[in-house]
Amino acid sequence: MRYFYALVFLLFIGCGGDSSEGNVNASSLGYGATITDELYQYQWSIHDNDSFFTQYNINTNASIGLDSYIDTYRGDGVRVAIIDDGFNTDAQDLQDAVLYTYDNETQSEGVSEGISSSGSTSHHGTGVASVLGARINGFGMVGVASRTSLILIKYKKEGETDDETIRLFKIAKEQGARVINCSWGTENVPDSVKAYIQELANEGIAIVFASGNGDSNGNAEWIPTNDEANIEEVITVGATNNLNKVTSYSNYGTNLDIVAPGGASSFTKYTGLWRAIISYALSDGGVYYASGTSFAAPIVSGAIALAFQANPNLTLTQINDIIKSTSDHLSGYTYNSSGFNLYTGYGKLNVKKFIKAAEDLR
């Protein structure tokens, strides 16, 4: 629990009868269609909504600027694996999104929601999957790569052996994943697991890890030396907030690559709701809000999926170069001659520049 920081609230925002399951076409809407997903207007992390930003004091640069390419790329044909604590594949926003599932508890296909340490339903994995790939379907929220194909791999709640961890990555590879999102860590990655992750990266698979959420008090700390997020070949993602600053909990270090919206940690249920990330829309109108580097990572994973659609021949080296050359430097942070800062990596994801650079390499 020391580093688990996802804060989840259930709040009914009164979507009304229009969003009931029976009235909604769960299939993805095509490019160019008006986006009517109820929560999109509130998704400051990806969508620039001037009036909403003004009303809730959200920095004008807080989003990743997904609007610039949402009618051009949505991750079509790109397979993204998510290894996490569980998934609700019946979630309305994930209909038509899931290509394959694997549950390491049962060692078979078919997954279910995760269970938190307190015994309640976790929603962590479903939230991560939704942030990455929620469909544009007239319901709920919008994912960064809303037409990508998801490979959902559930790890064991009570822990698993290192050989099982390797097997989970191997399944992702065998299922054709070009991106593997990992919003978790062990802080003790053995050399054999590390070598396999490096091997996959060297094969061109983008492996994205959340940088971690600080110490037991939620204060950012150096990414532990033996953490997965500290593997050089991994794309390590930290979190920014609604003020377009690095959050107080976002772990940092020399292997941090990029930051993306992950939501503020300190918010109250009613007054500061919009500082968090909308992570999961329930069919009864309920919404889960969360914050943590867990939810920044799938934003970057989604953007990489868009880049792969824009340029299927993109190499991982090129992706890393694009991260370095297109990420926005945040005000208030000093960058070295390579454009790097310990707390922001190479800066914050800017989808417009990120995808343009991918296109230019075609």
Binding site: H124, V193, N226
Partner: protein
Amino acid sequence: MYKIAPILLLPIVAFSTTLYFHQSGGQVTLTPMESKTRSSNKDIDNYTTSNGSVVGVGDTILVTFYNTKNVKELMQKYDIKLKEKLTDTIYVFSVEDKSLTIDTANALFDEKSVRYSTPDFFQKKIAR
């Protein structure tokens, strides 16, 4: 004979009190924890590492080879059984008794053909 016995036991005692595994070119110390958990019908001994993690050790070892030409020879030498070949170079072996896991993993690490060798740790992934 009675005078020799303590001398013979000394290295055994010393060996068993310095538990460690190899990681990133160094050694990480393992300190036994009292509690035990059972998973997959297999006893796991819990340890804390010198970097603060909690890991479980069962009866399996995870080995990455530079080359696999002498795998059978090593299996005989250390009395280990092949449980699974994960990739061309990553193998999972089992030992007779989990009390042998850490020492056997460390002994394998010293073999020329072995790149990495650690207990096949049982550990939790922490969601972020």
